[in-house]
Symmetry: C2
Subunit: 515 residues, 2 copies
C-alpha cells in the first residue's frame, strides 16, 4: 500500500477508536450521573454526619471516631476495611481497604486524608461553626447567605455549599472515592483495575508517620499508581490534573525584648522593642516585588521540561477573576510571570504574627517578645533542611544569636539580638512525568467526562508528602483535585460546593474504569 | 558693717534656719513613721479591699464601685467627698474633697487616678489574677514566690509586694494621699496649706473628659499647685520629682490582603501578604539604632533649659542595674545618649502586632489582614495632630492609600496597598520650671524625708494630661511618683512593693506640712 493510503487508513482507524472510546466513556459517565441524581440526598446526609465529627489532627479524642466512621462507610459498601499503623504508638491511624478485580492488568490506589487544620472558632462567621455543617448559597464574604443545617430528604441544590472544617480539605476526597466505587457497583459497571484505598489521618501535621505506615504495610500498599484526591481544581473551574506538588515546611521565630512587658513611657526610646526587631528582620527577607532576598533561595530549583512548559502555557489565566473575587488590585510580585509560573517557585510566607495585643486589648507597653510563623513551600530540587538553613543563615547574617529554646539569663547578658528558631517537620516536592502511559490514560479518562479542556499542571501549588509513594512504595503518583478553588481551605468558613462533590465522583469513577 | 562681716552673719543665719528647718521636718516625719508602724495592718487590709474592685477604665459596671470605695475612705477620714462630672453623661466620675486650714497661705491639690489599663487575665502568672490581690516576695520573673492572699492581722513585711491591676498605677496614689492626711491628723500635726483631693477615673483611656470636669468645676479645683502622685520613682530607688510629662497618643494600623485567608500553597507567590506589607512599612519607620526615620519627627522638640540640663546630668545612671534586671544586653539605640536623655525625646513604639495566628493555632495560610498598635510619646513642642500627621505622611509616601474604615470593593479594585489608620485621642506634653518658689519648697520638703539625694527630672517618660491643669485651672503642676520602678505597670503581674507605699505616705505628708 502506498504510504499516503496507509496514512489515511491509520488515521481512519485512529478516529474510529477515538470515537468509540469517547462514546463508551460517555455511556459509563451517564450511568454514574444517573446514580448521583438518584442518591444525592442520601449521600449528602451521610457526608454531613461525617463532617460533624471534629477532625483537627491533634484532637486525639475525636480522630479515632473519624477513622471509625470511614471504616463503617467502607463496610456498608462491602469493602473490608482495616486501620494501618506504623511503629510509633498512639499515632492517628490510616484507613485501608481494597477491591480485587479478576484479570485486572494493573492496580490503582486512591488516597485522601481525613484530618483537618486547627480551628479558631471565634474567627468563623456568625452562624457557622467548624463542626456543625450548614448550607450556604455562596461564600459569605461574597454576598452568600446561610440556609441552615441540611434536613434529611430536603431537595439538594448542587450550587449550594456545605461549610465545615474538612468539607473541602479533604473529607471530600474520602467521600468522592467511596461513592465512585459504589456508583460503579450499583450501576452494574466494571472496574478496569484492582483498587486500593488509603485515607490518612496526619496530613495536616506534615504526615509525620506516613513513612512508617508505608514501611510497615509495604506489601499491602503496592500499586502501579496512586491517585491523590486532594486540593482544589483550577480557578477557571475546569477539571485539573496535577503531576506534582510543592514541598512544605514550617518555622517559628520568637524575638526577645526585656524579660517583662515595660511601660512605654518610662522605657520608651531605651528598652529594645522585639516587635520592631522582628519586623526589621522579616522585611529584610523579601523585597516589595515578592522576590525572596535570602541568599541562594532560588538556587536549587530544577528547570521545567519541555512538556511541562507547554502544559503551563495552556493553563487558562484566571487572574482577573481571582483579583475581583479576592479584592486584590496588585498581586504580590506584579512581575512578568503568570500565576501558574509563580506556583512553580519556592515561597517564603508569613503565616502569622503576634506581639502583645492589638485592638481593644492593646496597652501602652513595650512587648517582651514577638513571634512569627513562616511557611516555606519548596519545588523540585529544593531540600527541607537546606531551605531552612538558608533562612537561618540569613537571620545569623543580620546579627542574631539563634537558639532553639527560651533564652537563659546568661544568653540575655551576652547577645544583642536573640531569636528562637523552631524548625518543624516538613517534606520535599515531588513530580511525575506527564509523558508516562499511566499519565496519558488518566488524562484521557478525565477528558471524557467533561466538555472543557482539562487543565494539566506540572505541579500543584499546595503540598503533600508524595515523594514517599515513590521512594518507599515504588509507585507513580498523580493528583486529581476535586474541590472548588474558593473553599477557604485551612482557614475559617471552609466549604465545598456540592456540584464539585458530584463531579468528583464522576472523575474518580472514570479513572476506576479507564482503559 | 563691712561687707565681709555681713556675709558671715548672713551665712550664719542661713545655716541656723536650714538646720532648724531640717530638724523640724525630721520630727514631723518621725511621727508619720510611727503612725505607719502602728497602722500598717489596717492600711494594708483596706488597700487590698480597694484593689479587689475591678477598675479597667471601660468596665462601667465596676468603675462606680471604685468611686464609691474612695468616697467611703474619705468620709471615714472626716473628709467630705463628692463626685465630679463634666457635661457628657455616663462618664467615669472624678472623686473630689478638700480640707480647709485657717490662715493657710496657699492651696495645694493632690491628684491620683483610680482607673487601670485593660487586663488579659490569661497573660498573668499562674496563681495571680488581676483583681484577687496576693502577696509575693519579689517579681516572679526574678525568682519571687507567691505567699498568697493577705489575712487580716498578719505581720506585714514591707519588702513584699501586693499584686493586682492598679496596685502601682495608680490606686497607690489614692491610698498614699488619703493616709498621709490621716497620719497628720492622728499624730496631732498641722497642715500648712489648704488641701484639695482629686481622683480621676479615665486616665488610662486618655483622660478624655478631664477638660470638661475642669471646666464644670473650675472654682472648686483652683489651687496654687497640683501635685500629681502617679508613676514610679527613679530606678535607683531614690525619691523623685518630675517637673513635666511626655504627651501620648495611639494609632492603630490595619493592612489588607485578599478578602479571605488563602491556602499558602495554592496562592503562595501570587496573593499579596498583608503581614509582609505591614512589616515592610513598620521597618521603614525606624532604623536599627532606634532613630525614627519619619520626616520631621524630631523637628518640633523644644531644647532643655540650663537648669534642666544640669538636673539631667545629676540623675544617677541605673542602666547597668536595669539591663541585668530586665535581661537586656543592648538598649535600643545604643547611642551616646543616657536613658535620662532618651526619655526627653518623642517615641514611636510598636505596642502590639497581630496577623492570623502563631504557635499552636497557626495554619498554612496567607492572612487576610495584619494589624499594628502604635503609641507615640511626645515632648514639649510636639503636637498630637502634627505628630500623627507625620506618621500618616510617611505611610502615604510608601505608596499606601490611607482610609479610616474597612476597604470597600471599589477601593480594593483601585489601590495596590490599602491601610486603615485609626487616630485615637491623645494629649501634649507639659513642663514646669524647676526654678519656681513652689518647686523649691516641694523639693526641700521631700529632701528632708530621705538621706539620699532626690532625683529631679525635667520630665517623666510617662504621660498624664497635665497641660489641662495649667490651661484650664491656671495652676502649676509637679509630679511626685511613689511606686517601685519594677511594678509591671500597664502589663500582667502589676505589683507595688509595700515599703514604697509607706514611703509615699511620708513624702506626701511632708508636702502637706511644708513651709
Amino acid at each position: 500500500m502506498p504510504n499516503q493510503y496507509k496514512k489515511i487508513l491509520l488515521l481512519s482507524i485512529g478516529f474510529q477508536l477515538c470515537v468509540s472510546t469517547l462514546w463508551a466513556q460517555d455511556v459509563k459517565n451517564q450511568k454514574v450521573k444517573q446514580y448521583i441524581a438518584k442518591n444525592d440526598k442520601a449521600m449528602l446526609e451521610e457526608y454531613i454526619k461525617f463532617l460533624s465529627v471534629p477532625n483537627v489532627s491533634s484532637d486525639s479524642g475525636h480522630i479515632p471516631k473519624d477513622a471509625a466512621f470511614i471504616v463503617q462507610m467502607m463496610e456498608q459498601r462491602g469493602i473490608k476495611a482495616s486501620l494501618l499503623h506504623g511503629t510509633t504508638p498512639n499515632v492517628n491511624p490510616a484507613v485501608y481497604g481494597e477491591i480485587t478485580v479478576p484479570h485486572a492488568k494493573r492496580t490503582i490506589g486512591f488516597y485522601a486524608h481525613y484530618d483537618g487544620q486547627p480551628v479558631n472558632a471565634r474567627q468563623w462567621h456568625a452562624g457557622l461553626e467548624p463542626f456543625s455543617p450548614v448550607l450556604i448559597t455562596a461564600p459569605l464574604e461574597n454576598g452568600g447567605t446561610i440556609i441552615g443545617p441540611y434536613k434529611a430528604g430536603d431537595t439538594v441544590n448542587a450550587q449550594w455549599r456545605i461549610t465545615a472544617r474538612g468539607s473541602a480539605d479533604d473529607k471530600a476526597g474520602v467521600m468522592a472515592i467511596l461513592n465512585a466505587a459504589e456508583a460503579i457497583k450499583q450501576t452494574s459497571q466494571k472496574l478496569s483495575s484492582n483498587i486500593k484505598f488509603l485515607f490518612e489521618g496526619e496530613e495536616e501535621v506534615g504526615s509525620t508517620h506516613l513513612n512508617e505506615i508505608f514501611e510497615t504495610n509495604k506489601e499491602n500498599l503496592k500499586t502501579d499508581c496512586w491517585v491523590i484526591i486532594d486540593g482544589p481544581r483550577n480557578v477557571s473551574g475546569r477539571k485539573t490534573i496535577q503531576f506534582g506538588v510543592r514541598g512544605d515546611v514550617n518555622m517559628s521565630l520568637t524575638v526577645y525584648g526585656a524579660k517583662r512587658p515595660l511601660h512605654s513611657g518610662n522605657y520608651g526610646n531605651w528598652a529594645p522593642n522585639p516587635a520592631l526587631v522582628l519586623v526589621q528582620l522579616l522585611a529584610s527577607m523579601k523585597d516589595e516585588n515578592g522576590h525572596v532576598l535570602i541568599k541562594g533561595f532560588y538556587d536549587d530549583v530544577v528547570p521545567l521540561t519541555a512538556s511541562e512548559k507547554e502544559a503551563l502555557a495552556k493553563i487558562p489565566s484566571t487572574e482577573e477573576t481571582l483579583k475581583k473575587d479576592l479584592g486584590i488590585h496588585k498581586p504580590e510580585g506584579n512581575s512578568s510571570k503568570s500565576m501558574a509560573e509563580l506556583l512553580m517557585l519556592p515561597t517564603l510566607n508569613i503565616s502569622g504574627l503576634q506581639s502583645a495585643n492589638v485592638g481593644e486589648l492593646k496597652a501602652n507597653i513595650i512587648p517582651s517578645k514577638a513571634e512569627a510563623a513562616l511557611d516555606l513551600r519548596m519545588v523540585l530540587g529544593n531540600d527541607v533542611e537546606r531551605q531552612q538553613q538558608k533562612v537561618i543563615d540569613h537571620i545569623t547574617s543580620k546579627g542574631f544569636h539563634v537558639i532553639d529554646h527560651d533564652p537563659t539569663d546568661e544568653e540575655r547578658n551576652q547577645y544583642d539580638k536573640i531569636i528562637k528558631v523552631e524548625k518543624e517537620h516538613g517534606y520535599n516536592a515531588q513530580r511525575t512525568s506527564m509523558d508516562l502511559p499511566i499519565a496519558k490514560s488518566i488524562t484521557a479518562a478525565i477528558a471524557a467526562t467533561t466538555t472543557e479542556p482539562v487543565v494539566l499542571s506540572p505541579s500543584a501549588g499546595g503540598s503533600l508528602p508524595l515523594y514517599l509513594f515513590e521512594t518507599i512504595l515504588g509507585a507513580k503518583v498523580i493528583s486529581v483535585p476535586i474541590a472548588n478553588y474558593d473553599n477557604n481551605q485551612h482557614a475559617e468558613n471552609e466549604n465545598i460546593k456540592i456540584r464539585f462533590l458530584w463531579e468528583g465522583i464522576e472523575t474518580i469513577a472514570a479513572i476506576m474504569q479507564m482503559k
